[in-house]
């Protein structure tokens, strides 16, 4: 018998605290597998956010720090500067990164800090019960937009990857999705590449992962995957927005 797939050793045995069918767990696996395959478990430090993934420090079998809401890139900056040999990543949701932590994120990118940001975008505030987030789609119904997000009063969703790709300090920005097995494979490649950039000292890398929130979207886990594909990917197109390694090769 040869093992085709088993749980990554970079994940602890703690049962994940996420709702059934939440794709946070898939993204955790991809991060854990990437770190394992690069053989840098011993010098990796992760920064957990506030939000559904606040307990991420229980799930990753490496050193972890839990940052105040939105401040993960600032904490990661400190870690990266104090530990030049360290592999530093943050794991943040859209309420953490694109709302209260926008300033920290934008400035960490513009400074070109040598960190990896895994940005999980599910277009809603999950942990607090499904309120409208900056990434909520126009017309999307949430607890605080019961008639759908009205762009006249609530504005438009923020496309983080496109915005950060305009900054000189950003080395790599890609948006991926985990709604199907082929997309999960692509997401893994992107996350691994971001870690390779960090190890090579190329600077700021962000991978935005479109994720589901079956509970707050009011859908079954399988319906949520379909909803993501039909509604989120048209507004948040998948792809590479910046890659300095590709530009160097030109």
């Amino acid at each position: 018998m040869t093992t085709v797939y088993e749980k990554s050793k970079m994940l602890t045995d703690a049962p994940m605290s996420y709702c059934p069918g939440c794709t946070h767990g898939i993204i955790h696996k991809l991060v854990a597998e990437s770190i394992s395959e690069l053989g840098v478990e011993g010098r990796t430090v992760g920064v957990a956010p506030v939000g559904c993934s606040v307990m991420a420090y229980n799930f990753f079998a490496c050193d972890m720090v839990q940052a105040p809401h939105g401040r993960a890139p600032a904490v990661a900056t400190g870690l990266a500067r104090a530990l030049p040999e360290g592999v530093i990543f943050t794991y943040q949701g859209d309420g953490d990164l694109a709302a209260i932590g926008t300033a920290e994120t934008v400035h960490a990118a513009s400074r070109g800090e040598n960190i990896v940001i895994i940005f999980v975008n599910n277009a809603i505030y999950g942990m607090t019960g499904g309120q409208m987030a900056p990434t909520t789609l126009p017309g999307q119904v949430t607890q605080t937009s019961p008639y759908g997000r009205d762009v006249k009063t609530a504005g438009y969703p923020i496309r983080i990857c496109e915005m950060l790709a305009t900054l000189d300090g950003t080395a790599y920005a890609e948006r991926v999705s985990v709604n199907s097995v082929p997309n999960i494979r692509k997401a893994k490649k992107a996350i691994k590449k971001a870690f390779e950039n960090q190890i090579a000292g190329r600077g700021f890398s962000i991978v935005e992962v479109l994720s589901t929130c079956p509970t707050n979207w009011g859908l079954t886990p399988v319906e949520a995957l379909k909803w993501l594909e039909e509604n989120m990917t048209p507004y948040y197109p998948l792809g590479v927005y910046k890659d300095i390694t590709a530009e160097e090769g030109k």
């Binding site: 018998m1 040869t2 093992t3 085709v4 797939y5 088993e6 749980k7 990554s8 994940l11 049962p15 994940m16 996420y18 709702c19 059934p20 069918g21 939440c22 794709t23 946070h24 767990g25 898939i26 696996k29 199907s180 097995v181 999960i184 494979r185 079956p214 079954t220 886990p221 399988v222 995957l225």
Partner: protein
Amino acid sequence: MANRVTVNEQICKGCGLCTSVCPKKIMVIDRDKLNAKGYNPATVSDIEKCIACAMCAIMCPDSAIKVEKE
């Protein structure tokens, strides 16, 4: 001998994502079983048909599935 798919039934939350990606449609939710958390865990209905593609395991958010190939 067939391939082997092991589901950690206590970790499984019965979300059904594995059942939606199985190309052979042999990953199913076992409605007759409950785990300690109160979820119906996933199981394999006909292991002889399994091709060990591991798509169920790749899709599982809780890393509850291990796939071994003969």
